[in-house]
Symmetry: C2
Subunit: 191 residues, 2 copies
């Protein structure tokens, strides 16, 4: 039995309708998310998020989102944005929290606050190609949640478990995703 | 033999010194990246990137970076930022491009422009818990590069291969990363 009304800022009536619609027509649940990236200089790049496909239609965000990435001085950049592996932590943190809050709403549990700290251990020898024994990416990631909700401790623990069980980015980072990279020379220089 | 001077905005002399220093003391290559996230309402969260550990010291970014995530209206959010799986694409795009540009610099290859388009296929039934047969995250990701560089086509193809071989986020998404999630109730509500 799902809750009704708006809980945690999530319209649970619309959530229930969406679930019913998908049960009737699973094709509605097929999404395709998109990004374009343009290099500036050194470690500085800008990603633009403009549109996506879902519910059998192409949709445009209310406005474009621009995400700047760069490296700190120690890593030879100009520190004009979080670096790519920090952006990966932001994707994980936001996804776990959104998953927790939406699934709490579906169960009628009011959440008042969610905070999390994340850290990931990375050995630069991978990126630099100095050792085959270390991986390029994070060796491991730690996430520490603090949740304030109308629920007892065991229910909050369950919500934290559920966030991991349902979060798309938790799956993307925990499990292998096939990435196909194509490309080649640019036909005409735009820089 | 590495190039010298500044190429593609990357100080290759400093890059060479860094590599030499790491060869002498691999502990310098141990990094720990960090993020904190705070939920606002619905699908809206804000991640702050403030400091990191590397080269045996705690270091602070020149300024804090704030990354807003939200869901579009179709996914019951207010569209106040890219959503978490779009942020994952931005992490991948920026990392592949930075890897390409830095390794090109180390080889003395001048890059004039790099652009990429990414998309990822995702079935919402995973997140909603409606099917055990679909995964929560991306089924697959496609990346399409356009590179303008002082190099022939086969060298550009090699750079695109090298980007994949060395990119930390490519590794993080392609291969499993262990994520440990802890947490529980907040001691005092801050909202």
């Amino acid at each position: 039995m799902m809750a009704t009304g708006k809980i945690n800022g999530v319209d649970v009536d619309r959530l229930a309708s969406t679930i019913d619609a998908i049960k009737g027509d699973p094709g509605i649940a097929s999404f395709r998310f998109r990004a374009t990236n343009r290099w500036d200089e050194g470690g500085h790049t800008e990603t633009t998020i403009h549109d996506f496909y879902g519910a059998r239609q192409d949709l445009t965000h209310q406005r474009d989102f621009h995400i700047h990435a760069d490296e700190p001085d120690l890593l030879l950049g100009k520190d004009m944005g979080a670096n790519p592996v920090e952006l990966a932590l932001s994707a994980l943190a936001s996804c776990l929290t959104t998953s927790l809050v939406y699934h709490a709403a579906a169960r009628g549990i009011t959440v008042r606050a969610v905070e999390s700290d994340l850290d990931g251990e990375l050995d630069l020898r991978g990126f630099l190609g100095l050792s085959d024994k270390v991986r390029n990416g994070y060796k491991n990631i730690n996430v520490n949640f603090r949740v304030d909700a109308d629920a007892d401790q065991s229910t909050i623990d369950e919500l934290i478990q559920l966030a991991q069980k349902r979060s798309p980015v938790f799956d993307i980072i925990s499990n292998p995703v096939s990435i196909k990279v194509n490309g080649g020379p640019m036909r005409s220089a735009k820089h």
